[in-house]
């Protein structure tokens, strides 16, 4: 027992820090979620049990936010970032060195830009008088106003633009790990590009796909700055994903207690996604 304590003692400061700065806020968050705490205009907060959660589940605005979050995550993380990242990584392996360098640099620049800067850049791109419409008009194509007509699609595109680099890096590393002999022998057996992709490449990078999907999803679920800069969740509530909804409730409407409860529910959504991915990962081919 004492030996164990001694062994743990060098880790004590780290444990204390973790408890203080990680577990502490999470615990406080859980506490706030069961109170009716407001930012202002209230003499004292009181314990309300699970009322905030019941309110959320019955709130059509909350359900709308959940639905939009799912759309945003599936379109931008699963379909967009993930597929595009894999395609880019695959294509870049065959590209010449200059093309690889330039493309890589461009894609990664989008990724390292601070979120709010990316938000404003994309706002000027999608805006009615923005770059995209200037290009479309020059090509004599019909122009768009997606920030207004299809805001959830616009913010999804924005997230794809910003987050693809991450998937590309993950897949570049994964593809480099595939032994040359396997691909070559498949080629000798007469397998074409698509068949090689389906039967060799994808199964061999299966674990990377799982990890990448999970990280993409968790990152996308918590995207706030990008959406806030582009649409503020509007017009109406047509691009109000859960993090934007949570901010709106907690800081615009001053309902800290309710906002915190929504944050915890967001955590549940993330956990559900993770559980699915972990399950997929466990299955052996």
């Amino acid at each position: 027992m004492i030996r164990r304590l001694l062994r743990w003692s060098p880790l004590a400061p780290a444990t204390v820090l973790l408890l203080l700065f990680l577990a502490g806020p999470v615990g406080y968050c859980g506490y706030l979620a069961v109170t009716d705490t407001q930012l202002t205009g209230q003499e004292s907060a009181s314990f309300v049990g699970l009322a905030n959660f019941r309110h959320a589940l019955a709130d059509p605005e909350f359900r709308n936010a959940v639905l939009l979050t799912l759309v945003f995550t599936v379109v931008s993380a699963l379909l967009g970032q993930n597929t595009l990242g894999l395609a880019l990584a695959g294509l870049l392996r065959r590209a010449s060195r200059p093309v690889r360098t330039v493309t890589g640099a461009v894609v990664i620049t989008a990724w390292v830009l601070p979120e709010i800067v990316a938000g404003f850049l994309l706002y000027t791109f999608f805006e009615r008088r923005g770059t995209l419409n200037a290009v479309l008009a020059w090509l004599h194509l019909p122009t768009q106003d997606w920030l207004f007509t299809l805001p959830i699609l616009a913010v999804s595109f924005a997230n794809v633009w910003r987050g693809t680099a991450f998937s590309m890096l993950v897949y570049s590393a994964a593809l480099a790990e595939i032994p040359q002999e396997v691909t070559e022998s498949a080629e000798v057996d007469g397998a074409g590009g698509l068949r090689r992709l389906w039967h060799i490449t994808l199964p061999m990078i299966r674990r990377s796909i799982g990890t990448n999907l999970m990280l993409n999803t968790l990152q996308t679920l918590s995207v706030f700055g990008l959406i806030w800069a582009l649409t503020r969740g509007g017009p109406g509530n047509r691009s109000q994903t859960l993090p934007v909804f949570m901010y709106d409730q907690a800081f615009v409407k001053s309902l800290i207690g309710y906002g915190t409860a929504v944050a915890l529910l967001l955590l549940v959504v993330g956990a559900l996604f993770s559980a699915v991915y972990l399950r997929l990962l466990r299955e052996e081919v």
Partner: protein, 453 residues
Amino acid sequence: MRSTTPVALFTAAVLAAGALTGCGSGSGADRNTVKVAFIKDTNNRVKVRDDYVALVARQFEKANPGKKVKLIPVQASENDYYTKIQQMMRSPKTAPDLVYEDTFLISSDIRAGLLRPLDPYLKSWDGWRQFEPSAKAAARGQDGRTYGVPDGTDTRGLWFNRTVFAKAGLPADWHPRTWDEVLDAARTIKRKVPGVIPLNVFTGKGAGEAAVMQGFEMLLYGTGPDQLYDPAAKKWVTGTRGFRDSLRFLDTVYREKLGPEVSDALSPNIQTNVAAELLPEQKLAIDLDGSWLGQQWQKTGGTPWPQWARTLGQAPFPTQAGAPPGRVSLAGGWTWSIPARAPQPALAWKLIETFQSKANALEWCTRGAQLAVRKDVAADPRYLTSVPGIGFFTQLVAVSRYRPALPAYPQVAAAIGEATEAVTAGDATPEQAASRYDDTVRSLTGGAVLTKP
């Protein structure tokens, strides 16, 4: 063992820092120092308020030998500033002696017990008699006591472009008497001067409180008495004709395409857009906006536009059908208040008197493009010539109404923003949006609302 040393050192440092600062702030109370907390602009180049506060502080120190003023500028956006001062005022260790409070939120802080009533001081202060009655009411709590001395205000009205009006055959001294006359002028402009946006009324969530106050409430307060809150019953009002009519006005503006493109109108950038582009570039004929707009086009402003004083005219916004007093304006502004836990309230009051002496109040109004709340300042020639149009907007102070000074107001305002956004975007009819607003207000107040026809 070696690898953990930095961690241990770091922990020790953190703990020590915590203990030291905890100690430090406790021993800061000094009987001769008065601490003043105020908001500092997030743009470092804007120092109007900082300079003015410093000027008054020096004056105070000179007039009161041995006393010191400690300035606590809080550089933050308005929302973050509110949160910061609310936290400071919670503890006697950190409470400032004097705090700069927005009338938008002051009632919340009164309700939370953070502020001190000033009535004993006001009773024996000559200056208070100079204040406009509406300004005196700005910081009055529900208990009837006064919790702050306003240092200026702002009003709202119509700005119109005389060049565009001439092209459309409309008078240069335009003075609409009803909503319909405003809409008719806009329709005329749409017909005769293509390419110009006839009328801007702020709407939706993007412009935030600007849309609620400059836009919707300018309409609502002209539809009849107590359409938002009934002070006699002390209840928020739902189901009113005025609320629906105001939404219908917005619906007309945006369905008939008399306003900016809906996507622009709902964008968070619309305010800057109007002041920095649409009006100076003569692309907007009529704008329902605030009294401070002129400072943007002064030589020192963000978009210098020398001809603005000749090009733009001002007209009061009319009531719905011309009912007396025939014009509507809302007023906002900030006050100086003393926190309930302030260590030096008496000294803080002396400082308020210095801030609101006639000379200093005049100084602040001319520097900060504020509308005077003191009658003697409002009549001063130096004030009346500080910015063109200031005379017009000062007249409106007399008819100006303050928003309901109630703790729930910020949440009600958010619900109004949502209703206007739904109507403007075409997601709901005025009736649907109004009934959704009613539901929200009912749930906000736990059902304590008054339903009016």
